[in-house]
Symmetry: C2
Subunit: 210 residues, 2 copies
C-alpha cells in the first residue's frame, strides 16, 4: 500500500491541493491522507473554506509520496524547523516528492531543490532561484524523484503525470476520463507569455506585496 | 455584495466544488460561502477529505449565485424535499444557477432543467435527459441564467465563463492568469470521444453500479 501525504496549513490555496487529491486518491493500492503541522481544521487563503488535516506530522513520518501545495500561508512554514525537518525526513525516504505552485518554496527552504531543475507559480520563479533551484518555465518539471508544478491549476497536470509513473499510463488515462479533463479555457490568458502585459504586471505587483 | 453559495454534502466530489471556488472566490465585491443541509464537516466521495459547511441552508436562503457540485452522495439529495425546496427557492430569485458534473441531477430533480439545454458528466447524460433536460455534450452549457458544466474538471471552465459574465472578461482573464490555467494534459483521453472505447466502457460500467 503506497501512502500519499498532502501537507495542508492555514493560508493554503485550495486548488493546489485538491487538484492532485482528486487524481491521486483514485489510484489503486494507495492511501491518501491530509496532514497538518497539527491535526485539525485549516482555513484556506481566501478565508472562505475550511479543510481538515486528519493527521499530524508525527502520525505519518514516512509516506511514499509527498505533495506540498502553495498559498501565502506557506511563507511562515519556510522558517518552521518542525515542518522543514519533517519534509526533509520524508524526502530522504520517499519514492516521489512533489509540489504545486509556491509549495516549491517549502521544498527549496528545506534544501531539497539545491541544484535541481524545478518550477513554481510564474510570479515566484526568481524567489525559487534564490533558494538554489535551477528554475524552468514549464508546466511540470521532473528531476529524478522530485516533481514540481507551475501555479495552482498545474497540479492537475502534475498529478496525472505522477499517476502514470506510479500506476501506468492506462490508469492515468482512465482517471483523466473519469474527471472529464478535456479542458476548454474560455480565454487564452493562462500564462504570462500569453496574457496582456497589463494583467501580468497587475498580478506580479499584488503577489509581491504579500 | 453578490453572495455565492456552494452546496456541499457527504459523498461530494471535491474538485467539482473547489474548481469553481478557486475562481469565484477571487471575484471583487462578492462573498462566497459553503452551505450544507446542516452546517458542519462533510466527507468527500473518496472518504479521504473533510471539508466544512460554514452555513446551514436556512442561514442563506437567497444567494445571488448557486453552485451545485456532483458526487455519488447527491443521489440521496435527489429525493430530499428540504434540499430540493431550498434549491428551487434559491433559483426563483437567483441571478445565476449553476452545476458541475452530476450536480445537474439535483437541478433536474428540483424541476429546474425542464425543457432547458443542460449538461452533466458524460456517463450521466441519459439520466439527465430522464429528468427533463435537453442534454448537450458540451463542456459548458448556458441557458438563460442556468449554467451547467460537464464532469468534475469542467467546473473550472464553467466558473471562468461565469466570472466573465459577472465581472467582465478582464477580471476573468486576470483570475485565469493568477491560477496559471494554461492546461497541458499529459494524455488526450479526457472525453469519451477521444479516449479508447475500452476505458469508456470501464468507467460507464462502474458509474452504473453506484
Amino acid at each position: 500500500m503506497m501512502r500519499i501525504a498532502i501537507l495542508i496549513f492555514d493560508g493554503l490555496t485550495a486548488l493546489d491541493a485538491i487538484g492532485p487529491y482528486e487524481i491521486l486518491s483514485r489510484l489503486p493500492e494507495t492511501e491518501l491522507r491530509f496532514v497538518g503541522r497539527e491535526a485539525g481544521p485549516k482555513r484556506t487563503d481566501t478565508g472562505a473554506l475550511g479543510i481538515h488535516a486528519d493527521l499530524a506530522l508525527a502520525e505519518l513520518p514516512d509516506p511514499e509520496v509527498l505533495v506540498v501545495p502553495g498559498g501565502e500561508g506557506n511563507r511562515s512554514l519556510m522558517t518552521d524547523d518542525e515542518v522543514l525537518g519533517w519534509v526533509r525526513d520524508v524526502h530522504d525516504r520517499s519514492t516521489w516528492t512533489t509540489s504545486v505552485c509556491t509549495g516549491a518554496l517549502i521544498l527549496g527552504a528545506a534544501g531539497i531543490l539545491d541544484g535541481k531543475r524545478a518550477t513554481t507559480h510564474w510570479a515566484y520563479l526568481d524567489r525559487l532561484r534564490e533558494l538554489g533551484a535551477e528554475t524552468a518555465s514549464e508546466r511540470v518539471v521532473e528531476h529524478g524523484k522530485v516533481v514540481t508544478a507551475a501555479g495552482v491549476s498545474a497540479g492537475i497536470d502534475m498529478a496525472l503525470t505522477l499517476a502514470s509513473r506510479i500506476a501506468g499510463e492506462r490508469v492515468a488515462q482512465s482517471i483523466q476520463l473519469g474527471i472529464e479533463y478535456d479542458p476548454e479555457p474560455p480565454f487564452d490568458t493562462g500564462s504570462p507569455h500569453k496574457a496582456p502585459q497589463e494583467l501580468v504586471d497587475l498580478i506580479r505587483s499584488s503577489e509581491r506585496t504579500e
